[in-house]
Symmetry: C2
Subunit: 232 residues, 2 copies
Amino acid sequence: MSRSARLLDLIQLLRRHRRPVSGRTLAGEMGISIRTLYRDIATLQGQGAPIEGEAGLGYVLRPGFMLPPLMFTDEEIEAIVLGSRWVAKQPDSRLSAAATDALAKIAAVLPDDLREELDASTLLVGPAAGAVEGIDLSLVRQAIRNERKLGFLYRDAGGAASERMVWPFALGFFDKVRVVVAWCEARQDFRHFRADRISGLNATDVRYPRRRQALLREWRTTLDTPRSPPGG
Amino acid sequence: MSRSARLLDLIQLLRRHRRPVSGRTLAGEMGISIRTLYRDIATLQGQGAPIEGEAGLGYVLRPGFMLPPLMFTDEEIEAIVLGSRWVAKQPDSRLSAAATDALAKIAAVLPDDLREELDASTLLVGPAAGAVEGIDLSLVRQAIRNERKLGFLYRDAGGAASERMVWPFALGFFDKVRVVVAWCEARQDFRHFRADRISGLNATDVRYPRRRQALLREWRTTLDTPRSPPGG
DNA sequence: AGTCCCACTGTCAGATTCTGGCAGCAGCCG
DNA sequence: CGGCTGCTGCCAGAATCTGACAGTGGGACT
């Protein structure tokens, strides 16, 4: 096995462990010596991998995605840049910053001429139109990722307000509004909540009893009836 | 210099040449032997780089972007996925396909669990609203990339139609419309053309006499007056 | 046809790099 | 303190890479 392949294997191995793992264990599972493992870890860290080692504990990989060398066509990179620019204009400030960071990371590793081409890319995105939410959408995304219950006050189309406790599992981006898709505990059914009508967001630590992907799948089947599907 | 670094250098070296280059020349510029160059080329091809060699001619790199190993945070990859999904819903069919392809390429190199997470990603994009153009936007993007003149029939807001020959250098994506930004030969000034009002597109082979990036820069300065800037 | 240039492959000795084991230092914990 | 761990320097053997040579086959030009 070549060294570069082994480095990718090591990343994946680290990903599988959530608790800190000792270098000795990792070396054992990889079939290499501890000394080599330390060298590999150092190499990966040098490539930007967020691996943290602490004496007496072991190694942890902060969550993230490691992409191996990848080749994109002109149009594919145009699509990625345009898409990231669109995200960067969205009102969700953390996601917007993440899109900007991702573009900066890509630009950082490009040779000068390509970076210039990327910076001066000719696909532009207009300013995000539509309502601005009063809530922090990053809290909603976090609740979705961690499968936590979410409480809030909802003002429906008629103007009536109600307290809700929901299991959020998706976030829809439409032209003008963001929509939280969730299982509503009170109604015992799937519900869509326009983000601009949500207030008093309460991101709880309570895990909801279903898997996010299962909820998503189930919700999709309910869309086969001719309601307009937000798609994915 | 490590081998992996040399491989990236080789890619960049190939990028700088537009005409086919002989292996002997490349080896000379890299400071390595021809034999090693052949081995490096083979390695790069194995990693997916579109390098083509033909006996009697030399090597050519089909245009594209080679990204070295890269680390993204959860939120950054969420942003890229969401953005690409948005692009995939745009009416420009080629760009849309490119976005889908880019996501597929990323998914292909991910370990199973991450790929599943990406597929079942919970940020959804609503259907693209707004007018559908009758023209092929990929022709416009191609004209922009290659700095070619573009002819078409334009029907302005008042309904009056006119023949135009323009130097396109940017494409703006707004909520409902796509806008071609170009230098208009008839008006001798920058003009914006809504794509849904363009018909009879004529993508010429005539290169226009200015650099696209210079036009873009110049156009941006005209936006410092308080017109609303489409931004970038 | 003949010639030149070129991509591409096999082989092999020498240069280079990688690897594993050892020793040693420092930080954390019970 | 002792046990566990991360981390570094060192060095000999293993593995890999490199350069040189020889040879094959394809395309282009004369």
